[in-house]
């Protein structure tokens, strides 16, 4: 049976995995492994009826996901800069 709280946890997990999709393959695998381990660790360690603590973990996770997404934007601008460098290299060499 899936409760509302469980749906929120799964939704957060999906959010993290979606965020990982935007990364380079190695970084993506690393992030997926960390996220998966963290969710499974808490699933095993946290008492199912400890709603207060689960809600706290959900809020903390949502905040971390937001930070991750804004870090994404920084990474994207770095990528653009790097690409414009390499394309000018290509132009001068070819």
């Amino acid at each position: 049976m899936v409760t509302g709280l469980q749906k929120q946890v799964l939704g957060l997990y999906r959010g993290f995995m979606r965020a990982a999709r935007g990364k380079a393959p190695e970084e993506r695998r690393r992030m997926e492994a960390i996220v998966s381990a963290e969710f499974r660790r808490n699933a095993a360690a946290v008492e199912r009826k400890n709603f207060m603590y689960i809600e706290y973990l959900l809020r903390r996770g949502a905040r971390q996901l937001d930070q991750l997404k804004s870090a994404d934007t920084v990474a994207l601008s770095t990528f653009t800069l790097h690409r414009s460098h390499s394309s000018s290299d290509d132009a001068s060499s070819g």
Binding site: Q6, K7, Y13, M17, F39, F79, H82
Partner: protein
């Protein structure tokens, strides 16, 4: 690294499009006229193809015993997966069929039959 990812993504697209379109084009050009008329303007994927690709995604999932995978299996009851694995499988299906399944729908997909039905009925599945 990011550049490699971008390149890999580009490399993969044409391959998938080719394998997807080849049988359809063949039936348009060489198949019988009735069939080509009925499939004209219909971009929906063939049911058999959807089933085959869904099963191959599920079989490729690291924790799954491929010999247990049939079109009828339930991810948790039959394959011993947990709810987090189910989220991962549904996301792998999104990538395979180039879809983004909304959370509300994704929450309901917990078996091969539901995944197959969802994808067959999705107009954007490719």
């Amino acid at each position: 690294m990011a550049l490699r990812a971008a390149m890999l993504r580009h490399l993969r697209l044409p391959v998938q499009t080719l394998t997807l379109n080849r049988p359809i084009h063949q039936s348009w050009f060489f198949g019988n006229p009735t069939r080509s008329m009925s499939s004209h303007g219909d971009d929906h994927l063939d049911r058999e193809e959807v089933i085959e690709r869904v099963l191959s995604v599920v079989k490729d999932f690291p924790k799954v015993d491929p010999s247990k995978v049939t079109p009828d299996v339930h991810f948790q009851n039959d394959l011993g997966l947990d709810s987090l694995d189910t989220v991962e499988i549904v996301m792998a299906l999104e990538e395979e069929f180039k879809l983004e399944i909304p959370d509300k729908e994704a929450d309901k997909i917990d078996s091969c039959p539901l995944a197959i039905d969802y994808i067959i009925n999705h107009p954007m599945a490719g």
